[in-house]
């Protein structure tokens, strides 16, 4: 256990030190990313205004709150990309990582976790500017803040597991870009990334209850900006823990058979 903690702390420190040096590049990245929620926000604010102030139970201020918090949750959701896995497997880069006495996924989780701390720091002024422009309605309780701070890390872990599983498909076939696109399309619709889930048709909402996606977007955002009871908040965290545990078990299972397939195509 001790060596894991040391490894995580060291990797996170490296990530923080190296990412701080590239703060301009990080800002380019974040601004590019912020346009996506701003587009959704503008569209839905226009609709809300056209309908006399509300669309699907959300006021313009509520949409603003949703999509501003969205930007932080989206940042937390950026993990080692499946295209990275594709590259790693296709080019044989994984060979080197397999030599280390620690599972390669720990490196990803630790490095990106370190990067997140920089990102959260850089996000604060961005959120302030967005709030100044779009005037969100926030009504936040302490319990919501506590659950939110846990849920964004839960979302980070769930999405790491999901995207690693997705990337690991490359062990079997190297033509994966269409599969990745299909996944991202489904995630967009079923996670709350496109619109708050409550604006979706009921059957889509029901479907999303049985899938992991909404625990990475909709739940953390709603935990802070919505009006959930304490029971709802903590059972949401429970669901995240459930997905993390079962996902980790599944990932281990897949990894064992995947690694037997590995031949370092280009390495």
């Amino acid at each position: 256990m001790r060596r894991y903690i040391d490894f995580y702390l060291a990797s996170m420190k490296i990530a923080i030190l190296s990412q701080i040096q590239y703060s301009v590049a990080n800002y380019f990245y974040m601004i590019g990313m912020v346009t996506e929620p701003v587009i959704y926000l503008v569209v839905w604010t226009t609709i809300a205004k056209q309908q006399g102030g509300m669309a699907g139970g959300y006021t313009a201020g509520a949409f603003a709150a949703y999509y501003i918090i969205w930007t932080l949750v989206r940042n937390m959701n950026i993990v080692f990309t499946p295209y990275g896995w594709e590259w790693r497997i296709r080019e044989g880069q994984l060979s080197m990582e397999l030599m280390r006495p620690i599972h390669p996924i720990h490196g990803d989780v630790a490095y990106f976790a370190g990067w997140k701390t920089v990102v959260i720091f850089l996000w604060l002024p961005l959120a302030a500017i967005l709030s100044w422009i779009f005037k969100p309605d926030f009504d936040i309780r302490w319990m919501e803040v506590i659950v939110f701070s846990l849920a964004i890390w839960g979302a980070y872990l769930i999405r790491t597991i999901l995207l690693s599983l997705l990337g690991m498909i490359t062990f079997w076939t190297t033509r994966v870009s269409a599969i990745f696109d299909l996944y991202f399309g489904l995630e967009l619709i079923l996670s709350g990334r496109l619109v708050p889930m409550t604006l979706m048709p009921t059957w889509v909402q029901n479907l999303s209850n049985y899938l992991p996606f909404k625990w990475t977007f909709f739940f953390p955002i709603e935990a802070l900006v919505g009006n959930m009871t304490d029971t709802q908040l903590w059972s949401g965290v429970g669901m995240q823990v459930l997905w993390i545990t079962s996902g980790t078990l599944f990932l281990n299972l897949i990894w064992k058979s995947a690694i037997k397939q590995y031949s370092a195509v280009g390495g």
Binding site: G32, E36, V42, A178
Partner: protein, 261 residues
Amino acid sequence: MNPIKLAFTYLRIGVLNEMQYRINFFIQLLQSFISVATGLIGLSLVFGQVTTLAGWSRPELLAVMGVHLLMGGVIRSIIQPNMERLMDDVRNGTLDFALTKPADAQTLVSVREFRFWQLVDVIVGMVVIGIAFVQLKGTLGILQLLGFLAALIMGGVMLYCVWLMVTSISFWVIRVHEISNLFEGLYAAGRWPVGIYPDWLRTGLTFLVPVAFAVTVPAEALTNRLSGTSLLFALGMTLLFVILSRGLWRLGLSNYSGASS
């Protein structure tokens, strides 16, 4: 060296290269369908609530989506691959190989790469525009068609110029790959007519990253909203962007030292 002949030669090499991987056509087709499907879902969510969005009806917004897809295909097949290669070349010092060739360097770095299969998006975009047009029950006059084509070409040229300007920053700043991400993000704003955005954003999308000219103006031509004045304005802006990007490129180039080769 005739620049058109040069571009055509590289185009041919690009097509021949990509023709080796024919299955990529189907993969690209599948990806185009996924993006159309998500776009349609977005539209149906919007029009589940209202009948028009800022004065645009559903088929009109479908036309916007078609133009956005078409232009996105142009970007990803020609503009983006060339500019990303340029960024890499500047960083690695391999731009030397392009500069020592007896042709205009800007032309050369703009035509070296061609992703043929990405043109599937252009075709799919045209089909979407066609469907939108049938739903609009409109008639396409020759003047309207010419206006649409002119707006489309000018929009494409402007986007190329912005990409070139942004890529020229790589002569000064090392890590610029995030710029692609920034650009993709801003381009995504073109999925909706720029008229719906607040003033500051609309200004940015018109003058900084001319998504307005690249997507909204051609779509306006299709939906009978375009005036001759806007088209003339677009022409003026295109010329301005061409001159500015040429200037910045030359300034950047004089700063290039081919450090690592």
